[in-house]
Each structure stands twice: as structure tokens, then as C-alpha cells.
Subunit: 345 residues, 2 copies
DNA sequence: TTACGCGATGTTTACGTAAACATCCAGGCG
DNA sequence: CGCCTGGATGTTTACGTAAACATCGCGTAA
């Protein structure tokens, strides 16, 4: 890649300040400030002159100075481990969107590997970061065990956690969704439902498992052994090869694992949904194109993101810390991967 | 959600400044600054006293003041349309990672809908934003047609564009990847290869299509009619229902469309790969779990992200604008969705 | 006519940091 | 023994903005 000296405007070392604009417009810098912020008390003629000067100099307000002045950055930080799960990505997307709508920018704080030192590092950086509030998309126990604390004036909202007693938590109604999945299968006539769970250290996975168990017990059904995956399609495939012949219904803790499961069942010649039913969780955009289209639990990530932003902003404005958990409801999307069980041989 | 007044440290309106630390440690604020920045010329005893004071007051450097002082924010902005395509997400992830490693934060600038006014809006916000450089993940013609220009001192790197003559561009080697896909199929013995293209307004899609065409022509093969999708699995499914019986090989412009294609073919009773071969593009994590596992072109998004960050930072440090295109190579991943064509009836 | 009020604009100041410069002190050397 | 050197530390200042306060001038009511 070649490079060339930057021409034109960039020769000016620093970009134009209010003082420059003021000089050109023949007013005081305070008047420029008033125009810039749309404050009243500037006569139309002056305002026009100032605007013209701004345009000529290519004036842009300096956000550092502005932040320094009134002590806020109009920026929210988002801490997350990675963008490899659909949920995190879609939540982030919704957060970015809502934040933009409120005039806040989003600063990303990725933590590559959830080790103690990584998390500490992120929080240290965060402490120096120009943010007014933070949204944490991860298991809160990692946040707790961190030796570095959040700056006291920074407000926090947490996703995917059970720390509602200490933080404001926004989460999908994991239990409700999992219960709906199980009940859907039971209603179709299945005697019981197997569960392909997510990794045991995930709160979301835990809650889905709990609800699966509770739903089975309430209905007085036998509880099959628990199967574990790691959220990946590959792990669903591996587990799928082990599902016994007498199993007629599986509830997978996410759509990716359901995908792998479908492939394993296909390879084994077990037809879905005629021989065995499968339900997923998340409703990723692709799930309607699986073979067969997947019945799954739809999560409203957009709503989760919106409530997160709403929550932090409220805390920032009121200068209070909130706690409690807000649950966003789910919805079962019935497609073609579920059907009544085959008649007993 | 209940709320309670925030207790303890938060009662102090503003957090501790250097002056506060200096007072407590009995030194000047300049000495605190030196300790804070690890500058030399502070005797060990003093340093310890300052550090203790910092800890006691929970001192955090104020990044706004720091930014105001030396005119840089140590932050990069990332402009993108959405996080719904795998490529964008993984690129963003890699960017965030590399940036963090360099001590830079990432500020997200989502543009919900790529309309002119939306893009303008993002750039306006950007102008006021606290960033030293920008990475644009989108078609550059939208950037060009924007009436709002980037602040002159902000350096730019663009992904997914052909604007290498005006900007520094980093992109996957779309052509090379598409050519590899076509050549792989021809080498297996297919007479020609159909192409399920992405939306015509995408440069990435255009380039994949061009390379497909070029590879066919070079080999002197007939060129089948072009099929179009919109990147979604659903569109792949729709198109898949229309693929004629005599087609033995399809190159889909991304893995999602390939997924839909697989389903349509499955429903029509056309076996993959025995009756028809399918190749995708991207190598999303799930593609190894499709039915059958998908042969696809692997994109190294990590490398793309890394080079973006490297590029902007170099421009920032050198105070120059670069141009030219850097291509990141791809790699064909052969799985189970491709095979020699069936023997002619 | 004069003084008062109020809208328009200007001036001062502080936000927290760090570069540049100033000062102070200990020790070495003529 | 006094001066000089250099390291440690303190003081001043500027970064760009905006709140708070000051001023100016014009219209209006007594």
C-alpha cells in the first residue's frame, strides 16, 4: 500500500475551535457556543453569521472538551466475551441501535478469553474509559470475582445473570421459553423429552435445564439423562450420535446444537419429525431453513437491548443504582421439526 | 424494578482528581501525573505515597481531560450497517480485539438503514465523535454520496469496497475465493457451474460473480443464467426450488444461501453431492454441520480485522492518508457437499 | 425625560491533565 | 569553601467548552 502526504485541510495542525469561529464571525466564543448548542438568545442575523463561519472553517465541536466541561461522555460501554453467539451479537446490535437513538455512542470492550486477568484488564481499561454507564453481557460471577471494581459513578446493567439482587438485570425469560418447548412436545403426545443442555457454567443454559426438569416433574414424566453440548453445532452432532432409539423428542438448548443434532439423526436414518421431534432455542435467522425447518423458542433480542439501554440511561439520569430483574418474554415458533411420536411398535 | 439512592463513594459528586490525590499525598499534582503516566524522575518513596493516595481515593485518570490535553482519544470508530451478516460480525470482532491489544477502544456507529439520510446522520455524529480514526465496513459509494464529509484529521480504512484509489481498503480476496470454488467443481468433472449470487448492490457479491464468470469463460464452459438471492437462507431456498434438473453444480455466494439451497434440493429429492454439488462462501461455524457438511470458501476475517486496525493506526501515527487495496487470501474447505457429477443418463 | 427591564452579547472562570519551565537541594570539584 | 550540575519536585499555562456573571443598548412606563 502506498502512502502520500495528506493534503489540504489536514495541514492545519488542530481543527478549528470555537475561538477561531468566533474570530471569523466577529463575535465572542460564547455566542458560538450558544449557536452550537441551539441555546436561545441569539438573534437570527448573528446566528447565520456564526453558522457560515462554522461551515467555512469546518468547525466540529470537540467532544473531549465538552465531556470535560459537563462531566459526561454520552457514551455507554459494553463488556462482552465474544461475538460468536447469536444472542450476544443481536443484543449488541439492539443496544447500539437504541443508544444511537438516544444520542449515546457505544464503546466496545471485548474480553477475548474469560480468564480472571482478562476480565480485570477490561475493567481497568474501563475505569479509564470515557463512559457514563456499562452494560455487561456475561455471567456476573466473573464480574464479582474481579479484583478491580467498577468506577463508583458508572451505572451498570447486566444481561444473562441471576444477580438481580445487586444489579439491574435484563434477561430473556429462559425458564418460560424452555417450559414452553417441553410443554409443546408433551402436548404432542411424547411420553418424555430429552434435553441437550448448554455448557454447565452458563446461567442461561442452567436456567433452561432447570425449567426443562421442572416441567417434566410437574407433568409426572420420567426424567431422561441429561446431555451436554458447548453451544456449537459440532457438539450437537456428537451428542446426536448417542441419542438412544427409544427417544422421541429432544429439546436442544440452542439452534446451533439442534442443527448438529438434525445432521446426526439424518445420518442415522432417523426421520425428523416422523421418528423423533427436535426443538431448539433462539430462533436464529437460519433455523427456518434447516432440514426440516426447526421448531424453536424465539428470543426477542431487540427488546433485551432496548431495555438495557433504557435501564442504564435511567440510572444515569436519576443518579441511582437499580436492582431487580426484568424478563423479556419468549414465543414458541412451531415449524416442521416437531410432530406426535410414532405409534409404539 | 426498584431503585435505591446510591450509597458511599457516589456521594462525592465528581470522582477524585489529580489535585485531590496530590493533596492527600502531600505532593504537587504534576508529580501525581508523573506517577500516573510512569514518567521517570519520581523517587521510589514518593511514588509509593502517591500510589497509596490514588488507591485510597479510588483515583481514575479522566480520559476527557487527557484527550483534551494531547488531542487524541485513543479510540477508533467503526461504521457499519448491521450485524446481521457473519462477515461484518467477525470482522468487527477481530477489529475490537486488535484495537484492544493496541490500547485503543472501539466506538460503534451503527447505521440502521442504508439510506442517504441515515448515513449522513452517522457521519454527522461521527464528526462530533471522540475518535482518531475510522473503519468503514460498507459499500463505499454510500460513503461517497454522503453530503457530510469526514473530519479532515480522521483517518479511514474501508472494508468491502473497490475504492482503493481513494482510500486504504482491506478486503477478502473475493475473486480468488470464487475462482477456487468454480475451479474445484470443474476439476471434479462438472461441465459447468451455476451461480447463486448475492444482491447486485453488494461489491462483494459483484466480485464473486465476476470471478465465477471469468473462470467459466477461461475454461471455455457454457455460462448458465445467473440466479440472485439476498444473502438469506430463505432466498437460497426459494431459488433452490427453481434450479433445473440438468444442473449438477452450484456455487452459492454465501453459506446461508447454500443452506437454503440444500433444503430445497433435499425436498426435491435431489441428493447432495451424488446428484448435485454445492459450494458456499464464508465458512461460517455451522457450515460443517449442514446436511451434508458444506464445501465452502474460508474467509480469514481475523486477518481482515487485524489489517484494518494496523492500517488506521499507521495512518494516524504517520499523519498521512494511504490508499491501495490489501487482499486477504481465502482457502477452499472441501467437505461433503461436492463430488464428481453423476454419469450422464 | 429618565430610569428601569430585558434581550443580546461579551468576559471570566473552571473542568482535569501534562508540557514547559522554574526552583530547590545535595553532592562533587576547583 | 563556594560554585556548578543534575535530579527531584513545584508552578504556570493551555487545551476547548460552557456556566455564571457582567455589560450594553434599546424600548417603555412613570
Amino acid at each position: 500500500m502506498e502512502s502520500r502526504a495528506q493534503a489540504g485541510a489536514a495541514q492545519r495542525r488542530r481543527s478549528a475551535s470555537m475561538a477561531d469561529v468566533a474570530r471569523l464571525a466577529g463575535v465572542s466564543s460564547q455566542t458560538v457556543s450558544r449557536v452550537s448548542n441551539g441555546s436561545p438568545g441569539v438573534v437570527e442575523d448573528t446566528r447565520r453569521r456564526v453558522l457560515a463561519a462554522m461551515k467555512e472553517l469546518g468547525y466540529r465541536p470537540n467532544s473531549a472538551a465538552r465531556a470535560l466541561k459537563h462531566g459526561e461522555f454520552r457514551t455507554l460501554g459494553v463488556i462482552l466475551f465474544n461475538l460468536s453467539t447469536t444472542g450476544n451479537v443481536r443484543t449488541l446490535e439492539a443496544i447500539a441501535d437504541s443508544a444511537a437513538r438516544e444520542g449515546y455512542a457505544i464503546t466496545l470492550l471485548p474480553v477475548a478469553i474469560p480468564t480472571q486477568s482478562e476480565v480485570d484488564g477490561a475493567f481497568t481499561r474501563l475505569g479509564e474509559l470515557a463512559v457514563d454507564g456499562v452494560i455487561v453481557i456475561m455471567e456476573v460471577h466473573l464480574l464479582d470475582s474481579s479484583t478491580v471494581s467498577l468506577p463508583p459513578h458508572v451505572q451498570v446493567v447486566v444481561v444473562d445473570s441471576d444477580a438481580g439482587d445487586r444489579y439491574a438485570v435484563v434477561d430473556t425469560d429462559q425458564r418460560g421459553g424452555a417450559r414452553a418447548a417441553v410443554e409443546h412436545l408433551l402436548a404432542l403426545g411424547h411420553r418424555t423429552v430429552w434435553h441437550l443442555a448448554g455448557p454447565p457454567d452458563s446461567f442461561a443454559a442452567q436456567r433452561r435445564t432447570e425449567a426443562w426438569l421442572a416441567a417434566l416433574k410437574e407433568a409426572g414424566r420420567p426424567v431422561p439423562p441429561l446431555l451436554f453440548g458447548d453451544w456449537s453445532a459440532e457438539s450437537g452432532y456428537t451428542v446426536g450420535k448417542l441419542v438412544p432409539e427409544d427417544c422421541t423428542a429432544v429439546f436442544a438448548a440452542n439452534d446451533q446444537m439442534a442443527l448438529g443434532l438434525l445432521r446426526a439423526l439424518h445420518e442415522r436414518g432417523r426421520r425428523v419429525p416422523q421418528d423423533i421431534s427436535v426443538v431448539g432455542f433462539d430462533d436464529i435467522p437460519e433455523s427456518g431453513s434447516f432440514i426440516p425447518p426447526l421448531t424453536t423458542v424465539h428470543q426477542d433480542f431487540g427488546e433485551v437491548g432496548r431495555r438495557c439501554v433504557e435501564g442504564v440511561l435511567r440510572q444515569i439520569r436519576n443518579r441511582t443504582a437499580e436492582h431487580g430483574t426484568a424478563l423479556v418474554p419468549t414465543r414458541l415458533v412451531a415449524r416442521a421439526s416437531t410432530a406426535p411420536p410414532p405409534h409404539a411398535g
